[in-house]
């Protein structure tokens, strides 16, 4: 069905990780009692004055800069007028004529290719409250009203739902890396709407339909795939696409028309008289430059090229900034990159899971596993002071006892059964005690080998390196 060209654009809203709301000092927090974080400003009482949160501005400019936008030197706020009780003022304060960022582009991976998406603009606005509709009533909770919301609008350049989904995931990783948003789609701190149109190739954009309710990145591809097919069917059968907003119905896997009123919205934007324009100076822009971090895609490529991680390993490590930082710290401290990544993907991940920590907690104060501790453990392993099973046991103990690996190993006498000399004596002794087994081994029977290894392991309380034991048995029975 390559008869038509598809144009998809995304509108992404992210809740910025500020302590307080955009125009008042109320806490910006998810999950509190209804209307516990409200004040006259965010409830729209008459006579109040909004005051812009400097951290919201800083985080917004960081995103604009990371997306390579043109940064505004004269940003304005406007009132967008609409009547709906999710905002009590009858208008939303947003940016219209001079948003913080315009233009810009971002590279992301889709399949095996690096693709590029251009942005239309990025602007800051206040979020709306939440409502529960039941029976004849609507219950309003304004805890979210006035929280800091950054809207990122892409150009309609995605050709498939897959591209849109790949971009969304890369974007989510990036804002988490930048530390500006937690990216939690279930809790709504990252929300996504899409617009999609199809047309005969070469004819430009078609009539666009907005698709809302894409609150999981998985829905993006499904909803857009469905919507493209629906539009193809309408046009192929001689129909006309209605410009409208449709909701994705995940249960039935269809988009449904919202049947909104006929006439287009007229929000009657006008400059917000209560907020002066924001005119950043040189120092502000320098501070934004300093706040930038290496973005996941670049970092991933560097880890593959410089530290020889496989692409899958690099993907895993770069999923979380905290994990990537932790990994690079262990390497900086002297851990072997391959050993470190294997342990982070294996036993360390298992231990984090068991003890209720997240990968993002690595390197934080509350987490027993520090980069120093993991490096200490991995270096003992690399130096053959302990073997793998003991290292795993030690890692568990690090989480349970919150102590350094070297101390744990010492306390428990878990060092590799001494040097080869000591081990040789032990193996010889066990062989001497089991002449029948020795006879069988010499006769080519492999079975008693395991029995001897077991005896040696018991005698050394599990500290002997099984491979060394094997080779000693081989040597001493030949």
């Amino acid at each position: 069905m390559a008869e038509y060209e598809t144009f998809i654009g995304l509108e992404i809203h992210i809740q910025l990780l500020t302590e307080t709301k955009i125009f008042c000092g109320c806490k910006s927090k998810f999950g509190d009692e209804p209307n516990s974080n409200v004040c006259p400003v965010c409830l729209g009482y008459p006579g109040v004055l909004p005051a812009l949160n400097e951290e919201a501005v800083r985080l917004s400019y960081i995103v604009c800069r990371a997306m390579n936008c043109r940064l505004s030197e004269n940003a304005m706020f406007e009132r967008k007028n609409y009547f709906y009780p999710d905002l009590t003022k009858n208008y939303q304060i947003t940016q219209f004529s001079n948003p913080f960022g315009r233009g810009g582009a971002f590279e992301y991976e889709s399949g095996d290719e690096i693709k590029k998406i251009n942005f239309h603009e990025i602007h800051l606005e206040e979020d709306a409250g939440k409502m529960i509709h039941q029976g004849g009533k609507s219950l309003c909770d304004y805890n979210r009203a006035g929280t800091c919301l950054l809207e990122i609008v892409t150009e309609p350049e995605f050709k498939t739902g897959q591209e849109a989904e790949d971009f969304l995931q890369a974007f989510r990783r990036t804002v988490r890396h930048l530390g500006v948003c937690d990216g939690n789609m279930e809790e709504g701190s990252l929300r996504c709407d899409a617009n999609i149109s199809i047309n005969t190739p070469g004819m430009g954009l078609g009539r666009k339909v907005e698709v809302k309710n894409l609150n999981s990145s998985r829905f993006v591809k499904k909803a857009l795939g469905y919507e493209r097919k629906r539009q193809e069917k309408v046009i192929s059968s001689g129909g006309i696409i209605v410009q409208e907003t449709r909701l994705w119905d995940e249960d039935r896997s269809v988009t449904r028309s919202m049947r909104s009123k006929e006439q287009a919205h007229d929000y009657r934007y006008f400059p917000e008289p209560d907020l002066p324009p924001f005119r950043p100076d040189k120092n502000f822009f320098a501070m934004i430059e300093n706040s930038l971090v290496e973005l996941p895609l670049t970092r991933r490529q560097r880890l593959v090229e410089c530290l020889k991680l496989t692409p899958d390993q690099a993907d895993y490590i770069c999923e979380e900034k905290a994990l990537a930082d932790f990994f690079e710290k262990t390497v900086g401290l002297g851990a072997d990159p391959q050993l470190s990544v294997k342990w982070l993907m294996g036993n360390a991940a298992k231990e984090l899971n068991r003890t209720g920590f997240q990968k993002a907690d690595l390197g934080s104060e509350g987490c027993p596993l520090s980069a120093e501790r993991l490096t200490e453990l991995l270096m003992m392993l690399a130096d053959n002071k302990i073997h793998g099973k003991i290292a795993a046991k030690t890692l568990t103990a690090v989480f349970d006892e919150n102590k350094n690996p070297a101390a744990i190993i010492k306390e428990n006498g878990w060092e590799n059964a001494a040097d080869d000399g000591d081990l040789k004596v032990i193996v010889q002794k066990i062989l001497d005690e089991n002449p029948k087994a020795v006879e069988q081994i010499k006769g080519g029977d492999e079975k008693p080998r395991g029995f001897i290894v077991g005896k040696v392991m018991a005698a050394t309380k599990g500290t002997a390196n099984p491979q060394s034991v094997q080779s000693l048995i081989m040597k001493l029975t030949s």
């Binding site: 500020t18 302590e19 307080t20 008042c24 000092g25 109320c26 806490k27 009692e33 209804p34 209307n35 516990s36 974080n37 409200v38 004040c39 006259p40 409830l43 009482y45 005051a51 812009l52 949160n53 400097e54 951290e55 919201a56 501005v57 304005m76 009547f83 709906y84 009780p85 409502m131 529960i132 509709h133 039941q134 029976g135 004849g136 009533k137 609507s138 219950l139 309003c140 909770d141 304004y142 009123k261 006439q263 007229d266 400059p271 008289p273 907020l275 002066p276 324009p277 924001f278 005119r279 950043p280």
Partner: protein, 92 residues
Amino acid sequence: MEQDDLIITAAQAQLELSAEEEGRLAAAVTEMLDYFSKMSEVDVDNLAPTTHALVTDNALRTDTPNQNNNQKELVDRAPDNENNFIVIPNVL
């Protein structure tokens, strides 16, 4: 003012007008608009719009929570509330 414009404006202001009101208001609103149309006679071609009477420096606030304990009172002032929610007629 055209009848259509009046109906659209009323809809955006969430007003329901009867046919009688529509007739009466169309005339009244036209009169008001004529009165203000005097302003469009002024030549503003080379003027930047004035958006603020007083533009001072960037007015920013630090990101620190304030302590206000009047949430209950603020919710109580709404016409109806229930379990901390403000209650309104169903708008869905």
